[in-house]
Amino acid sequence: MADDTPVIDLRDVTKIYGHGEAEVRAMDGVNLTVAPGEFVALMGPSGSGKSTAMNMIGCLDSPTSGDYLFNGVHVGALDQTQRALLRRNYLGFVFQGFNLLARTSALDNVELPLIYKGLPAAERREQALDALDKVGLKGREHHDPSELSGGQQQRVAIARALVGDPQLILADEPTGNLDTKRSLEIMELLDKLNADEKITIVMVTHEEDMAAFAHRVIWMVDGRVERSGSHDEVFNHERRGS
C-alpha cells in the first residue's frame, strides 16, 4: 500500500439514529483522515458522537450516508463476514470498561483473537505471552480479571488488542476508569506502541493530559468535526473561545 493512503478516510459520513421526532444525528457530515503511524485523540463534549465515530472506524457500524475507506477499501461494500475478517486482521479495540472475559485467565483473554485467526495452540500461547510481556504483565498470565487491578486489566485489554499485530488500535476512553497515575502509565504504553510498533492509534478521551500524548486532536461537537490540529492549537482556541 502506498504510504500516502490514509488508514482512515471518512467522507461526509452521517449516522442517524431513530426516526422523525426522535431522530438523532450522532455523526453529521464528518470528514476525517488519519495517516499511517498517527496518534490521534478524539475529543468533545458528551454526546458529540465520538463513540459513534469509533464504532464506524472499527467497522462495527455502518454510515447512514457517506463513505468510509479503510486503507483505501470501501467498507460499505464489505459484507458482515468480511468486516469481521478486517477487524481480526487489522484492528484492535480497547474499551473504557476493559471488556475482558470474566473467569478467564489473562492469557486466555489475550489468546482470544488468535483463536479466531485459527492459530495452533503453541503459537497462540507464545504470541500471547509476548504481548503480555510488552504491556508489563509478565508473571500475571494466569490471573483472572477479578484478581487484577483496573490498570492491570486495561493492560490485558491492550495486550489483547495488540496480539494480532494490528495496523490500528481504537481506544474509547481507555483511561476513563483509572486514576491519574494508572492513566499516565496506560498512555505511556500506548505511546510506546505507536512509536516502536508503528501502530496507528485513535483514542477518545475527556482529559487534556491524556490528549497531550497524541500528535493531533480532533474536536467534535454535535456530530461534527469542529477543529483538528495539534494539542496546543485546539486547546488554545478552546480557551480563547470559552
Partner: protein
C-alpha cells in the same frame, strides 16, 4: 478449529457448572428413563425365554375344555383319564413321555410349623417332562405310585418354611388329614415368569392324591414331553387327532380339550412385556423432548446473559458463523454429556432393578447408541435457535449490554 471450538465449549460448560447441570437435567432424566425401561423390559423378556427354555420348549399341556383360552369358556367337558396318558405314550411316536397333574392348595404342617402351599398329584414322569431334578432323597418308586402310599417330594420354599435348612427326608408332614412321608427335595427353581414361586410346592403320587385328597379319579391336566426328533407343532397335531378319537368327537365338532404349547405362552408373555416396554419408552422419549426444550430455554437465557461476551468476541474478529458454531457446539456437547450421564444412570437403575426383580441385566448396545445419538440430535435441534440469536447480535449493542 472444530477441536478448538469443542475445547472452548467444554471450558464454557465447566465455567458455569451449576447452570450446565440444570440445563442437562431434562436430558439426563429422559435418557436415563428410556435406557432403564428398555433394559428392564429386555431383561424380563429374556427371563421369560430362559424360563421356557428351562421348562423345555418341547413341553405341551393337555387340558379338558373348549379350545379357546380365557374367560367365557364354561362348557362342561369330560375329564382326562390315566388311560389317555398311556395311549399318548404308546400310540404316538411324537410323544416321548407324559404325566398327570392335578393341583390344589392345602396347609402343610410339620410340628408347630405350618405353611399354605400348592399340592400336586403326579408321578415320576412329570419330573422327567419338566426336567426337574431331586437334590436330596429320591423320586417316586413305581410301587409307591401304584399302592397309593402317602409319600411326597417337597420344593425348597416348603422346606424352608417347615424344616429350615435341615434335611427333610424321612420326616412326616401333614397335608389336610394325610400324614405324608417326605422322600425327596426338589432343586430350587426361583420365581417363574408368571411371578409365582415354583418352589412353593409338594408333589404326591397321583393315586394317593386322588384317593386321600380329592376323592376323585379325574385327571385335570396332562404334561407331555414331545420327542426331540419332531417339532412341537407336529406333536400338537398328533395329540389332537388321538384325543379326538378317544373322546369320540365327530368330524364337524369342536375339540372339547385343549393342547397348549409353552412356546405360545412364552411369546404371549414376551409380547405383553414388549408392548409395556414400548409404551413406557414412548413416555420417556417425550420427556427427552421436554428435556430438549429445557436446553433451548436455558441456552436462550445463557445467550442473553453472555451478550457482552458475544460482543467482545465479535469485536476481536469472530465471524457470525464462528459465534453460531460456538453456541451450537456448546449445546451439542452439553446434551451429549447429558446423554452419557443419562445412559450411565439408566444402566445403573436397570442393574439395581434387575437385581431386585431377579431378572437378567440385559443392556442393549443399539438402544444405548440410539439414546446417545438422540441426545446429540436434541442438542443440534434445540441449540440452533439460541445459537442463531447469538450470531445475529449487533456487536455495538452487545458491548454496551450490562
Amino acid at each position: 478449529m472444530i477441536w478448538e471450538t469443542v475445547r472452548l465449549a467444554i471450558q464454557a460448560i465447566f465455567r458455569n457448572a451449576l447452570r450446565s447441570i440444570l440445563t442437562v437435567l431434562g436430558i439426563v432424566i429422559g435418557v436415563a428413563a428410556v435406557i432403564a425401561m428398555v433394559t428392564v423390559g429386555q431383561g424380563s423378556s429374556d427371563q421369560v425365554t430362559a424360563d421356557v427354555e428351562k421348562l423345555g420348549t418341547n413341553v405341551l399341556m393337555v387340558l379338558p375344555g373348549a379350545g379357546r383360552m380365557g374367560p367365557g369358556n364354561n362348557s362342561v367337558s369330560a375329564a382326562l383319564e390315566m388311560r389317555d396318558i398311556k395311549a399318548l405314550i404308546d400310540q404316538l411316536s411324537s410323544v416321548r413321555t407324559a404325566a398327570p397333574y392335578n393341583q390344589t392348595t392345602l396347609n402343610a404342617v410339620y410340628g408347630t410349623e405350618d405353611t399354605r402351599t400348592s399340592v400336586a398329584g403326579t408321578d415320576a414322569r412329570y419330573l422327567d417332562v419338566v426336567d426337574w431334578p431331586v437334590v436330596l432323597g429320591r423320586s417316586f418308586l413305581p410301587t409307591e405310585e401304584n399302592s397309593g402310599r402317602a409319600v411326597c417330594i417337597i420344593g425348597e420354599t416348603v422346606r424352608q418354611e417347615l424344616f429350615g435348612n435341615t434335611n427333610p427326608v424321612g420326616e412326616t408332614v401333614r397335608l389336610k388329614n394325610v400324614a405324608c412321608d417326605v422322600i425327596g427335595l426338589l432343586e430350587a427353581k426361583g420365581a417363574s415368569s408368571f411371578g409365582t414361586d415354583q418352589d412353593d410346592i409338594v408333589l404326591m403320587p397321583i393315586k394317593a392324591f386322588q384317593r386321600r385328597v380329592t376323592g376323585s379319579t379325574d385327571i385335570s391336566m396332562i404334561y407331555v414331553a414331545a420327542s426331540e426328533s419332531v417339532s412341537t407343532d407336529r406333536a400338537v397335531v398328533d395329540i389332537e387327532m388321538l384325543m379326538r378319537e378317544r373322546r369320540r368327537i365327530g368330524d364337524g365338532e369342536e375339540d372339547d380339550f385343549n393342547v397348549r404349547d409353552m412356546k405360545q405362552l412364552a411369546s404371549m408373555l414376551t409380547g405383553i412385556t414388549n408392548v409395556l416396554t414400548g409404551l413406557l419408552s414412548a413416555v420417556a422419549a417425550v420427556s427427552l423432548l421436554v428435556g430438549g426444550i429445557g436446553i433451548m430455554n436455558i441456552m436462550l437465557v445463557s445467550v442473553t446473559e453472555r451478550t457482552r461476551e458475544i460482543g467482545i468476541r465479535l469485536a476481536v474478529g469472530a465471524t457470525a458463523n464462528q459465534v453460531l458454531l460456538q453456541f451450537l457446539v456448546e449445546a451439542i456437547v452439553l446434551s451429549m454429556i447429558g446423554g452419557i450421564v443419562g445412559i450411565l444412570l439408566g444402566l445403573g437403575l436397570a442393574a439395581v432393578a434387575a437385581n431386585i426383580m431377579v431378572i437378567p441385566f440385559s443392556p442393549n448396545p443399539a438402544i444405548v447408541a440410539i439414546a446417545f445419538l438422540f441426545s446429540a440430535a436434541v442438542g443440534v435441534i434445540f441449540g440452533y435457535f439460541p445459537a442463531r440469536r447469538a450470531a445475529r447480535m449487533d456487536p455495538i449493542e452487545a458491548l454496551r449490554h450490562q
